[in-house]
């Protein structure tokens, strides 16, 4: 092994390693601060130039300075050297610097190992099908580089083919391990702060503009598959966080006391139950976005006093949940006075005109329902517009909205409606979540996107409990019936794909999303629960890690055996004449005469005649046939005769008597 240390790196092997550095570190430029991208790119170009010019690699001192400078810069940029992003930045820096001191094959091996590690880090940012394919190609490149390093110069195509063959043979192992390796649901220890940054979804407060940003994203929030039929589209309210505290600008959820948080809501179902499975994208919050209102919840989740389903831990990875929900229900007919009291609170001294209007309605109406109807008829009959680009509102936001701009979208309407109700003495609160969804005919999944994010209101009516009121539906009924794209006038900013009218494009998108969904369900969503489910479907009763490991070992052993046989199997390439002659000679060896490797057939026959006169005739005959076949004009007849000679040898036991 001492040999490896001193083995210098061939000049012609360097491009392979530079390609490794480029393929593994290059795509990370997207996530790195600009100065790092420039530094890493500059180092790479410098190294390429050094290779072209056959220049001397930099000495140790400037390299050490570069490493120290880079590490300091990363520490300054990310305020830490640990954690996901800083770790990736460090790895990329090392990948850019290691080729600068690549003198021996050992250094080159370090580069390849670093490359393998860097491949993993790409999955922090994306686990889509294209990423998977790209990384498969990169793995082939890294493996080909190993072959180049150890096998010397060969045509690139030959190296690539061999690397492909090795990976192809590794695939069965991957499948077995993927299926059977006992999965542990992470994390093994506390993750750094930035582990889940960049996950989008509903926020735990509703500030102006927070929903409109979300609505402009075409990303998928969750996918749902109903066990039987679907509810009406206008019934599809997916419930997220409920807000009952307003500070004049932002709606928030009230901090609940421990006893209040324990209160179980009471639900009376008056209609049909729907059972469905939802595959929720990670959004780093606890709410599960069940169809309003869930009656049966998955394990490890609970129903909050404000009726939303909550997971015990924030959803940090795509996960599947099965619910039963009812769309016709009465909730919390007997609400605690404290909650109702809270649902009437408003910040003092703002929006005087709105308050005045509410008080006027209250004096004219006999019941809360009439106040609600008055508000809805105002939205419906007066000139209110639905737009994602509302004008900015001033200090008295509700006054400005209701009496001046009259332009806005769900968050404006919901928040104005709740303000009006509270001012008129009707307990009310804001609910956010998603509304609607799109059925993908390819796989039957209902897709709900971030662009389906929605805000609506709930008022509490004696005898009926909390009742949903969607003021947006009064302004733009198509928002609820057909979706956001139909409700918005053209020219509004919206994710491009949410407003496709062209049929074939829509069909293509549906197909692509169905493939993606399969990928998410089966590849990315393969967690401990899914593993248990799959294994019990494959006939494992009670799969535990012991039986899984045992099966894993057995299957891997069998695969290794099959692959070894495939790899090592060798057809006898000797021609039939040679084989027949060898057989004859083997027969003679058992009878005591061994042909030396260099002995020609006729010479050997002469020697046999001398040593074993009893075998002389037969050997002479066989040698003659073989000589004719090999060096003369022997045909298939000779071959047959030669094969017969081996059979005609006297059996060995007779020799002894």
């Amino acid at each position: 092994m001492a040999k490896q240390k001193t083995e210098p790196l061939e000049h012609s092997a360097t491009p392979w390693l530079l390609a490794v550095a480029l393929a593994t570190a290059g795509p990370h430029v997207e996530h790195l601060p600009l100065w790092m991208s420039v530094l890493v790119g500059g180092l790479f170009m410098w190294r390429v130039w050094l290779w072209l010019a056959r220049g001397q690699l930099p000495r140790r001192v400037p390299l050490t300075l570069l490493v120290a400078g880079g590490v300091a810069g990363i520490g300054w940029q990310f305020h830490t050297l640990f954690g996901r992003d800083a770790g990736v930045a460090l790895l990329v820096l090392f990948m850019a610097l290691k080729p600068m001191e690549m003198h021996s094959r050992r250094d080159a091996l370090v580069v390849v190992m670093l490359g393998y590690f860097l491949l993993l880090t790409h999955y922090f940012y994306s686990q889509s099908i294209p990423t998977g394919l790209w990384l498969l190609a990169a793995t082939t490149l890294l493996t080909a580089t190993l072959i180049r390093l150890h096998g010397g110069a060969q045509p690139v195509a030959a190296i690539a083919r061999y690397a492909g063959l090795l990976l192809l043979q590794a695939l069965p192992f991957m499948l077995i391990l993927y299926l059977l390796f006992p999965r542990i649901s992470g994390p093994l220890w506390g993750l750094p702060q930035d582990a889940h940054s960049g996950l989008s979804g509903l926020s735990d407060k509703m500030a102006p503009g927070s929903l409109s940003n979300l609505i402009q994203s075409g990303a998928i929030a969750f996918r749902v598959r109903f066990a039987s039929d679907l509810p009406e589209k206008s019934e599809l309210y997916w419930r997220g966080p409920t807000f009952d505290e307003y500070d004049g600008l932002t709606w928030r959820a009230r901090e609940l006391s421990a006893t209040a948080a324990q209160t179980k809501p009471s639900i009376e179902v008056t209609g049909k139950n729907y059972t469905y499975t939802s595959t929720l994208e990670a959004h780093n919050q606890r709410w599960l976005l069940a169809l309003d209102v869930p009656t049966d919840l998955p394990t490890d989740s609970e129903l909050a006093p404000t009726l939303e389903a909550l997971a015990r831990e924030p959803v940090r990875a795509r996960a599947r949940f099965t619910f039963t929900s009812a769309v016709d229900f009465r909730a919390n007919r007997l609400e605690s006075p404290a909650v109702l009291q809270h649902a009437l609170r408003l910040p003092a001294a703002i929006n005087p005109r709105t308050r005045a209007l509410a008080i006027e309605w209250k004096s004219k109406s006999r019941s809360p329902e009439e106040i609600k109807d008055a508000a809805l008829s105002m939205f419906r009959n007066e000139a209110f517009f639905y737009t994602l680009r509302p004008p900015l509102l001033g200090q008295h936001a509700m006054d400005d909205f209701l009496f001046t701009s009259r332009r806005g979208f769900c968050e404006h309407y919901a928040s104005a409606f709740v303000f009006l109700m509270r001012a008129a003495g009707v307990p009310a609160r804001v609910v956010t979540g998603y509304q609607g969804g799109e059925l993908n005919p390819v796989d039957g999944f209902l897709t709900v996107r971030q662009s389906d994010a929605h805000a609506w209101a709930e008022i509490w009516l004696a005898g009926q409990g909390w009742t949903r009121v969607d003021p947006t539906a009064a302004v733009a009924p198509s928002r609820v019936e057909q979706g956001i794209a139909a409700a918005l006038p053209t020219g509004e900013p919206l994710a491009m794909l949410s407003r496709i009218d062209i049929d074939w494009l829509r069909a293509m998108r549906n197909r692509w999303e169905a493939v993606n969904n399969g990928w998410n369900q089966w590849v990315l969503g393969y967690n401990p629960e899914r593993q248990r489910e799959v294994l019990s479907r494959l006939g494992f009763k009670e799969p535990d890690w012991r039986s899984m490991t045992a099966t894993l070992a057995v299957l891997c052993g069998i695969t290794l055996l099959v692959i070894s046989l495939w790899t090592l199997y060798q057809r006898n390439t000797a021609d039939p004449a040679q084989r027949a002659w060898q057989r004859y000679c083997t027969g003679l060896r058992r009878r005591g005469v061994t042909r030396a490797a260099w002995e020609g057939p006729l010479d050997f026959a002469a020697r046999v005649a001398h040593e074993r006169p009893d075998l002389a005739t037969l050997t002479n005959e066989a040698a003659q046939y073989y000589a004719d076949l090999r060096y003369g004009h022997g045909g298939s007849e000779h071959l047959r005769l030669l094969q017969q000679c081996a059979r005609r040898l006297p059996s060995s036991w007779r020799k002894e008597v």
Binding site: M1, M113, H150, L167, M174, L177, W189
Partner: protein, 320 residues
């Protein structure tokens, strides 16, 4: 046969081959991970922990694919050696201190080339080569000689890391190889022609009477034979020349053990004799070799020279 060598021979085919050619079989091939292979395993372990910790499904897949790659790499390193056929070739004799090259004929019956095979004796420097698919090659394995005699280089260490460098596969084929190592020749002046060979000539002046020509100087030539005049004529272009004399018995030499100085040890005396043999052959003299236990008659030519050198190489060794 003692029990341990017998066991090794039975189990791993270690020891001298009983049958030629040697075909490398699984019993002759050993395989362990290299340092790079261990590094690879550590990297995979860290990657697996990362994949679990961050719940990366594709990360799991990548780690498992690479683990499979490691296993497959082991099978392929093994394939690079298995069923290789080795046959010993004829080794040319060398002088002590030179590098002997042991040719081994290699036959690859596979449809794939075998690459980066290292051949080496013990701790000696090795040679690395590729064998084309279904092809032949000859490995000339070097061995730096130090002492004269019959050199048995021991078993060959045949190893490879191809294709991935994660595994080191090796084998110890023990071919019946040997090399004759002549004593390191020492250049000293030739002894005077033997008076015993041809009576009637006086010792001291024979072979120095009739000038026949000039030849290039050898280091062992006496300085008094240098043709100073010829050198002086064209000093800048001419190497040192020696005057050659023809004198009947002058070309008949007995290179006798007894003529070498008795205070040198055996090896030095053999080296002096070897130098004399080379010088005598160079002069195209008739010469014979006389050792305490052996005598080779007067003769001339390369075969005679080689016979003399062999006798010197094997001096004192039991004949076999």
């Amino acid at each position: 046969m003692r029990p341990l060598p017998w066991l090794l021979q039975r189990l791993f085919r270690i020891g001298r081959a009983e049958q030629l050619p040697i075909v490398l079989t699984q019993r002759r091939i050993f395989i362990i991970p290299t340092r790079a292979g261990l590094l690879f395993a550590v990297v995979l372990l860290v990657m697996l922990i990362g994949a679990i910790n961050y719940n990366l499904s594709l990360g799991h897949a990548l780690v498992f694919l690479l683990a499979g790659l490691g296993i497959v790499g082991m099978v392929h390193a093994f394939r690079n050696l298995v069923t290789l056929r080795l046959t010993p070739g004829r080794t040319e004799p060398v002088f002590a201190g030179e590098i002997a090259r042991f040719p081994v004929h290699l036959e690859n019956s596979r449809k794939q080339a075998r690459r980066a095979l290292d051949f080496r004796f013990g701790k000696q420097a090795g040679v690395s080569l590729n064998i084309p698919a279904e092809g032949l090659a000859i490995a000339a394995i070097p061995f730096a000689t130090r002492v004269r005699g019959r050199l048995d280089p021991g078993h060959i260490t045949l190893s490879t890391r191809y294709p991935l460098g994660l595994f080191h596969a090796w084998s110890y084929p023990h071919l019946p190889l040997f090399c004759l190592v002549y004593p390191r020749p020492l250049a000293t002046p030739l002894p005077p022609p033997s008076p015993a060979a041809h009576t009637g000539h006086q010792r001291g002046d024979s072979g120095q009477e009739d000038f026949t020509g000039l030849r290039l100087r050898q280091p062992s030539d006496p300085t008094r034979h240098i043709a100073w005049k010829a050198v002086a004529r064209d000093f800048s272009n001419r190497p040192l020349l020696i005057k050659q004399f023809a004198g009947g018995a002058a070309e008949e030499l007995w290179l006798d053990w007894a003529l070498t100085s008795a205070d040198g040890n055996t090896e030095t005396r053999l080296s002096i004799l070897a130098g004399w043999v080379l010088a005598a052959e160079e002069m195209q003299a008739l010469y014979g070799l006389r050792l305490p236990d052996r005598e080779i008659d007067m003769a001339q030519g390369n075969a005679h020279r080689d016979a003399c050198l062999e006798a010197l190489a094997l001096y004192g060794e039991a004949k076999d």
